[in-house]
């Protein structure tokens, strides 16, 4: 049986049929509150979901005004018209004619008034479910930026953006995704900046989502990415409304998902992984310095263990005599091959990191201390792992912290480069570099090459890449992502 048989079913005008239908659809659902009332002698039913609507608002703003209505010998439609035209029970009021629409709103915190003998049900948005307050974005902290981050509530997030972009060109398009979860999602873009073709493509991509549930932004992300296998994310995420505003100002589309504090941004460029909002608060030369540190950090994080093993094993001539002797002495006591040492250390780090993330914070930090200090120290002092290798591994993982948006990719690539370097030395490293280069340059999203404006090169768009030109110059360039689009 189709579980969504009611989706487009029309709501009857008879109150008994309506209640019977609701009972059939919802079953013995304890959460649905059906209160029969009479207003001016006409039978009505007041519907709400337990815990979804605000009781504090419902009584004074909806129920009390309804109780006070007195129309002599009123017909059902006269009553309905009176309520619709004379009373403002909520600024967010609607009328639903199908069960699908009604139930979706009901479960989003709307309350409904059904008047016997009329078609359609009047709904009022007086949501009052528990929600997290706006707080500091934990995964994307900035020193000089705002302290507000997205929450799990779509409407709150929309208001955070609206407050920062007070232009009528700001557009929100709302959709419902998820056959079961019926999750609200919203596109956000600036009408005067967006490319219409891109918008159509985005709508098309979204229409291909046929998931049962959408519980986080991660559920939608694969549908926005290109179909090719890629080492890197071509869809950006942010939990900062200020960052999101900056992105849509450049002609991008952002997407908010109810229940997720992370917004998705498309198209996204590789170089953006090295940019933060603080860069624009700092002086250009410092922003350039910080970005270079991040780029170097990226290469250190993916290459260092692999290159260290490759050079030490295949090309020791790279090291000067003194360093070579130190390394040889350190390695002489280690019982395992260099590759095995590096692999074990990296694996150990991933284990500790994962356990520290999953465990409650207090225990998580204890695990980090035990893992980092005690196990690390014991591994070195027992001679299982050499000190230089431990430094290489520690530097590599520390470097990856400067680019948190690339954590998944750097983790994977670090292991791949390590394996390649151990097997073939620098030749192996170069081979995997070629692979990564082919992969990264073949990626695009919505027609915008992921590696642009580096390649394909666009001088006009280079002002805010590794270098960050002064804002006076940047404003003249008026960068728009659509300039990088390739048909």
């Amino acid at each position: 049986m189709d579980t969504n048989f009611y989706e487009n079913r029309k709501i009857p005008s008879n109150i008994e049929s309506f209640i019977a239908d609701l009972t059939t659809i919802m079953g013995d659902n304890a959460g649905l509150l059906k209160n029969r009332i009479e207003i001016s002698g006409i039978k009505c039913v007041f519907l709400s979901f337990d815990g979804m609507a605000s009781l504090a608002i419902m009584t004074p703003l909806v129920l009390n005004p309804l109780e006070e209505i007195e129309i002599r010998r009123a017909t059902p439609y006269e009553l309905k018209n009176h309520i619709k035209s004379k009373l403002i029970l909520s600024t967010d009021s609607i009328e639903c004619f199908t069960y699908g629409d009604l139930l979706r709103r009901l479960m989003s915190g709307f309350v409904f008034l059904f008047i016997d003998g009329t078609e359609g049900v009047l709904g009022y948005g007086i949501q009052g479910y528990e929600r997290r307050m706006v707080g500091e974005p934990e995964g994307e902290t900035d020193i000089k930026g705002g302290r507000e981050g997205f929450t799990e509530t779509l409407n709150t997030n929309i208001s955070l953006i609206r407050r920062r972009m007070k232009t009528p060109d700001l557009r929100f398009e709302r959709f419902v995704i998820g056959k079961k979860s019926r999750t609200d999602v919203a596109f956000i873009y600036l009408k005067d900046k967006i490319d219409r073709k891109m918008l159509r493509e985005m709508r098309k991509k979204l229409s291909s989502v046929e998931l049962e549930t959408v519980l986080s932004s991660g559920y939608i992300r694969p549908f926005l990415e290109s179909d090719k296998f890629g080492f890197f994310d071509t869809v950006g995420t942010t939990e900062r409304p200020d960052v999101l505003c900056g992105k849509i100002l450049e002609g991008r589309i952002a997407m908010l998902i109810d229940g997720s504090p992370y917004a998705l941004i498309v198209p996204y460029l590789f170089i953006e992984n090295f940019q933060t909002l603080d860069d624009y608060a700092s002086r250009p030369f410092y922003a350039f310095f910080i970005r270079m540190i991040k780029i170097i950090g990226f290469f250190i994080s993916i290459l260092l263990p692999g290159v260290y093993v490759a050079i030490a094993t295949f090309h020791p001539e790279f090291f000067n005599e003194k360093l070579l002797l130190i390394l040889a002495e350190a390695e002489s006591g280690a019982p395992l091959p260099l590759f095995a040492e590096a692999f074990i250390m990296l694996l150990l780090y991933e284990l500790i990191k994962e356990s520290a993330i999953r465990l409650p914070r207090a225990i998580g930090s204890a695990v980090s201390i035990i893992g980092g200090f005690i196990i690390g120290d014991a591994a070195v002092s027992s001679g299982i792992v050499s000190n230089p290798l431990l430094i290489a591994v520690a530097l590599s993982v520390t470097a990856s912290f400067v680019i948190p948006s690339l954590t998944e990719s750097t983790t994977l690539l670090r292991f791949i480069f390590l394996a390649a370097g151990s097997l073939f030395g620098l030749y192996g490293i170069a081979t995997v570099l070629s692979l990564v280069l082919f992969n990264i340059t073949s990626e695009d999203n919505m027609g915008v090459p992921y590696f642009s404006p580096i390649t394909p090169f666009s001088l006009r768009s280079m002002g805010d890449t590794a270098i960050r030109l002064p804002l006076k110059k940047l404003q003249k360039r008026n960068f728009n992502i659509n300039n990088l689009r390739e048909e």
């Binding site: 030749y427 070629s434 340059t441």
Partner: protein, 356 residues
Amino acid sequence: MKISSVGAISLLLISRIFTLMIYTADKGFTSVSFLLGICLSTVIQGILSLILILLVKKSSADDFYSLISENRFLMIVLSLFYGAFFILSGGTVLKNFTSFANGLFFENVSAFVIAIPIILVAVYGAFSGITSLSRSASVIFCIFAFMFLITSVLSAEKISPAVFNETTLSLSSVVKYTIYDISASPEFVMLPFFCLYSKNIRKDYFSFLSLRLVILTTSSFLMASVLKDFVNYTDFPFFTLSGAVGGFIKSDALYLVIWTLSASVKLSLILHFVNIFTEKIPLKKHLKFILSGIIITLISLTGTVTGNNGNSQIISAVFILLMGGIIPIIFFSKEVFSLDKKTYYDNNNNLYSDRM
């Protein structure tokens, strides 16, 4: 899909740079003859490419493949001919690659073990498409250009002009180096098909030829003036040069990285062109790439192709000039001149020519 000018030029340059890195000087290397040989080869290629490009502009076909596609028999014969050429070129590249790696870094490692990773990456690169290859090539070229610039600057103090005091110029040695340079330029065979990808083939190809000339003459000048007589005794003079100057001493393995990157781009490009000529074979694209990769590996490892020696250089040069210049010029001329004679009527019964 059209590629950017930077991408097109880089793609062709990277392909040539690979050959430069594995250049082996023979006994009695004469620098001036070498320089003149390169210049002469560039002039020959430049003249032929100019004629070809002008004909392509006048032709109704976008590239050579679409021209020959009009005749089924011709298409099969030429596809076999060109497909075989690119397969053999790929085999030669791989052979040179494994010889170089065996000679310098992996003396006791089987050539097969060295060939497999690079051919796998090349298959992936070819599958990524020419756009991706051109973008990758521009990144690699930037890295090469940076290192080449540093090498050139650091070489300055070791330059000795005395080696350029050749009293007599031998015509035969100039011809020899001209033949060598042509034989090392399979990119020339790509030209008739490259028109399809390049937005402005004349500008792109002539920029490539000019830059190629600059890089080759500078590197041969440096090889001769820095390495002096040692150039005759080292297997890979350019590689030796890069490891012999300033801050690159002991760091020559860094060139191995650039060299591997360029080899993967060159092999991918060759596989891409092989795919063009196997378009009509009813196999999935990735299977064709894998199959071509296997054939190239087998050719290089079974000794079907040898390195660049005297006789094979002459044969290669002849084939490259024929396939890159003369054959396409003949076919395009035939088409362009026959178009001149043809007239058509449009919907309004007006007389017009295709070339208007």
